[in-house]
Amino acid sequence: MKFGILILEGPYQHQAGDSAYNFAEAAVAKGHAISGLFFYCDGVQNATTYMTPPQDDRHISKRWAEFIAKHGVDAVVCIAASKKRGITDANLIKGARIAGLGQLTELGIESDRLIAFGD
């Protein structure tokens, strides 16, 4: 199956981003394809390289970047939400792209399931 995943919450504040990641990993492990990740609202903060958590905590943006690279997943970060929060190509994780909400619509159309994580 093709799973689309929508992430609506920022890193470290709520569990949503962690749940989304765990779900995505489990889906891939079961042989499913991730048709795309879409980061929206505060969720766009998951995709900034401007985070340096302590070494004994998870590095949320690095974890996403590795996931994207390893599985060749399309990751879209909402342009309007990014502009509001100071996320640009300069501080965007590798493998992600900044684009519009139309991409979320496309993801909904393409995916067998689109599941949202937020708070």
Binding site: L8, C41, L101, G102, T105, G108, I109, A116
Partner: protein
């Protein structure tokens, strides 16, 4: 102004999906309802079937007379009035949620269909994508 660069080509029927926006959060306390509204306004440029259900505190989004100048936040409630012209198929409000909040349909800033959760259960199951805001 979404859709300017979009080809108005019709999508084939199998590409057409049923999207439901499930609005359950109050306005201003968080970005969620505004975020949902923005997705609806963009999605309207695509040839999809869109419905919106307001339940729980989401019904507060439709309260008439929102004035946000005092909190220095943009009032986005007016934009809910365009949904019908944007081709949103159904605007539903959950009856119980409305009643629990002491509100009546005439307190709402746009015309909606007031429905019971029983009526909605089957409708929810028939959706392809449900987006919570």
């Amino acid at each position: 102004m979404a859709g300017e660069d979009l080809n108005e080509e019709e999508r084939s029927e199998e590409d057409k999906k049923k999207f439901l926006f499930l609005m359950r959060k109050a306005p201003y306390g968080s970005i969620y309802p505004q975020g949902g509204l923005e997705v609806i306004l963009i999605m309207a440029a695509y040839d999809q079937t869109i419905s919106v259900l307001f339940a729980d505190d989401g019904v507060f989004c439709l309260k008439k007379g929102q004035e946000t100048a005092g909190i220095h936040v943009k009032d986005f409630s007016s934009a809910f009035k365009v949904l019908e012209s944007y081709g949103v198929e159904h605007l539903y409000v959950d009856k119980t949620s409305l009643e629990e909040r002491g509100m009546k349909p005439e307190d709402l800033l746009t015309g909606v269909e007031v429905v019971s959760s029983d009526e909605m259960s089957g409708f929810l199951s028939g959706q392809d994508v449900i987006l919570p805001f």
